[in-house]
């Protein structure tokens, strides 16, 4: 029994000036309208499957080249150029024919990020079209969309949209008369943050525990079911149809050199107008915060911003003017990550915030690599005792000494992700940690971030 969303969606998808030439709307077309997701609406109002028809007339290599020209970088977190990633897939040789897979990573779980959900809710066909185009470019036989388990209603919607696409001849056997067969399977995850990591996702797709694999071999050589596989984020794949429609060179004019295109920023926390903001890359963070999103929601000054999902090191006030693109955010000591921007006002106790984030990583660590499994748990325990007034001054140096022993010493980036907030908050807001230890209480008197019950 399929149930499609009938409940009002309170999320904010637009802002003043959105949809103009300055702020092009490529990813969130029709977002907020509950009936926007069907094939009819997509074909009639949003130039649906025009890009696919164009791509199928091109050579697969030319499609990859077009995406390379556009310069789009992966929107999932690492910011790796998507076209380059596609070109790593091995080509068929007379001696060896490959079975290639394309996987769409819709395991959206990074705290602060909620863009993929909106794309699948309102533009599932744009994602499906993107997957088909990428599969054509890499000549894949089968595609998977790995959706996190909580999104059951979106899975039902995607299944329905896929059936619509099959009926219209965009999927299945002999697509649009090219003689090429391709189909997409939707795979439902089961609530593990780690499965957003690409090799853990592949393990989960194969029906195993979601533990990251040793790299190399990279997925392009040996991925899902031992075959060459490319994994892209929902937003990256959904950006492919606009790129093909407008042409790679035209797309590259949006944003900044090397950081091209638009990206859906997810604004949350203490901000007056939270929601999704599709913006060209390179706009300053304080402009987004004050001019577009209306500044702080509590009337208090914003003290800290996490610029790229919970894994990114936090910014304090002096970095608020950083342009929001991959390179500038990296140069400022953080990472653009998944585009989730979390605002925290003056009344937020950074010890509590840090403990809440580290508890998440300690809970979600898959337990495979000792530095991450033990390190995250120890950081949680030490922060817990600081928060509860039992901290010692040497705990701060102890915390600082744990992170270098986790970062870079694990198979996947979860360990590094836990170190980002820990290091940055300890460095930038050290007086708050010291105050907690000496006064056995928060330096600020405000939000209550930790529930008295639960705690896994």
């Amino acid at each position: 029994m399929a149930t499609f969303r009938t409940k009002h969606d309170p999320q904010r998808y637009t802002f003043e000036g959105f949809g103009s030439d300055k702020y092009p709307n490529l990813m969130l077309r029709g977002a907020g309208h509950l009936d926007n997701w069907t094939l009819d609406v997509y074909e009639q109002q949003h130039e649906g499957y025009v890009a696919l028809k164009k791509a199928l007339k091109m050579e697969p290599v030319a499609v990859t080249e077009e995406v390379k020209t556009s310069g789009i970088r992966g929107r999932g977190g690492a910011g790796f150029p998507a076209g380059l990633k596609w070109s790593f897939m091995p080509k068929d040789t007379p001696e060896r024919k490959f079975t290639r897979y394309v996987v769409c990573n819709a395991d959206e779980g990074e705290p602060g990020t909620f863009k993929d959900r909106a794309i699948m809710e309102y533009n599932p066909h744009q994602l499906i079209e993107g997957v088909i185009i990428s599969a054509w470019a890499m000549q894949c036989q089968l595609g998977f969309i790995y959706v996190r388990g909580e999104f059951l209603w979106l899975i039902e919607k995607l299944e329905h949209a896929l059936q619509e696409a099959r009926n219209a001849g965009y999927l299945g056997k002999d697509i649009q008369g090219t003689g090429w067969d391709f189909d997409i399977l939707v795979h439902r995850g089961a609530g593990a943050y780690i499965c957003g990591e690409e090799t853990a996702l592949l393990n989960s797709l194969e029906g195993r525990r979601g533990e990251p694999r040793v790299k190399p071999p990279f997925p392009a050589a040996k991925g899902a079911f031992g075959q060459p596989t490319t994994i892209n984020n929902v937003e990256t794949l959904a950006a492919v149809p606009p790129i093909l429609r407008m042409g790679g060179a035209e797309y590259a004019k949006i944003g900044r050199p090397k950081n091209t295109g638009t990206r859906v920023f997810c604004l949350s926390g203490h901000i007056k107008r939270p929601g999704l903001y599709e913006l060209p890359l390179g706009l300053p963070l304080d402009f987004i915060m004050n001019d577009l999103a209306g500044g702080s929601s509590t009337g208090k000054k914003i003290k800290a911003i996490i610029p790229g999902g919970a894994s990114a090191p936090a910014f304090s006030e002096k970095e608020f003017s950083t342009p929001m693109d991959f390179d500038s955010v990296r140069d400022a000591g953080s990472m653009a990550g998944s585009g989730g921007v979390i605002f925290m006002d003056e009344d937020t106790c950074m010890v509590q915030a840090c403990l809440r984030l580290i508890r998440f990583y300690a809970h979600e660590s898959c337990g495979q690599c000792t530095p991450c499994r033990e390190g995250c748990n120890w950081m949680e325990m030490i922060l817990h005792r600081i928060e509860h007034g039992q901290g010692r001054m040497e705990d701060l140096d102890l915390l600082a000494s744990i992170t270098p022993n986790i970062a870079g010493k694990t198979l996947c980036a979860l360990g590094d992700a836990a170190c980002g907030p820990m290091d940055s908050m300890l460095q930038k807001f050290r007086p708050e940690f010291e105050h907690h230890i000496t006064h056995k209480a928060c330096m600020v008197n405000g939000h209550h971030l930790l529930a008295k019950v639960g705690g896994h």
């Binding site: 149930t3 969303r5 409940k7 309170p10 999320q11 079975t99 959206e108 779980g109 705290p111 602060g112 990020t113 909620f114 993929d116 959900r117 089968l142 388990g149 909580e150 999104f151 059951l152 209603w153 399977l185 795979h187 439902r188 995850g189 089961a190 609530g191 593990a192 943050y193 797709l205 194969e206 029906g207 195993r208 525990r209 979601g210 079911f225 075959q227 997810c266 949350s268 926390g269 203490h270 939270p274 929601g275 919970a310 989730g340 915030a353 809440r356 984030l357 998440f360 660590s365 898959c366 939000h447 209550h448 971030l449 930790l450 529930a451 008295k452 019950v453 639960g454 705690g455 896994h456």
Partner: protein
């Protein structure tokens, strides 16, 4: 990670190597077996159907007990140990019974900044449950503290069973949600 062991259905804890008598085995309905096998056929390898099969087991039996895991292993002809490993890894497979309405409240940073932690306390107070502590005496509610549900812009957020999220929650909305659950406007667990 904390993985609670699923309860045994036998009246005593099974000793190493001891197996349930065949008559006490839990098994899928023929339709569910057909569904699992149809899913397995879509993948290049039948092992890949482990996760979907466990979702079906949860739907059929209400929660993933050890017996349900064994049934999955039999349905797919894969090792029981593999199924146990997978089921214990993923938090969405409930290894203990849950209430008719399983309330998953996000308390991660974005929700907490907007009152998610207090909201969880309220939910526990109203339903008389503790997070992860099993169903309430009337079997209607159970509460779980969830990690980020990807609804940060409309925090705090809660999911009732597998339904569409409830967002921008406050006391009034909680009251409304609990009442509409009682009226049966939400899909019951494992329906």
């Amino acid at each position: 990670m904390n993985h609670p062991l699923p309860p045994e259905t036998a009246d005593h804890a099974l000793a190493t190597g001891e197996r349930l008598p065949k008559s006490e085995r839990v098994d899928f309905s023929p339709e569910a077996i057909a569904e699992i096998q149809a899913i397995a056929a879509k993948y290049p390898d039948k092992l890949a159907a482990t996760l979907p099969a466990l979702h079906i087991a949860q739907r059929e039996f209400g929660f993933v007990s050890l017996d349900a895991m064994k049934a999955v292993a039999r349905a797919l002809s894969i090792p029981e140990g593999h199924v146990f490993g997978v089921a214990s890894f993923y938090t969405m497979y409930q290894k203990k019974p849950v209430g008719k309405f399983h309330l998953q409240v996000c308390t991660n940073i974005c929700c907490a900044l907007n009152g998610g932690a207090e909201f969880l306390e309220k939910v526990c107070e109203k339903t008389g449950c503790t997070p992860g502590g099993g169903p309430s005496p009337d079997g209607l509610w159970s509460v779980e503290e969830a990690e980020c549900l990807a609804s940060c812009g409309s925090a705090p957020c809660m999911q009732v069973n597998a339904d569409v999220y409830d967002e921008y929650l406050d006391d009034a909305k909680l009251k409304g949600i609990l009442e509409s659950c009682e009226r049966g406007e939400y899909r019951a667990w494992a329906e």
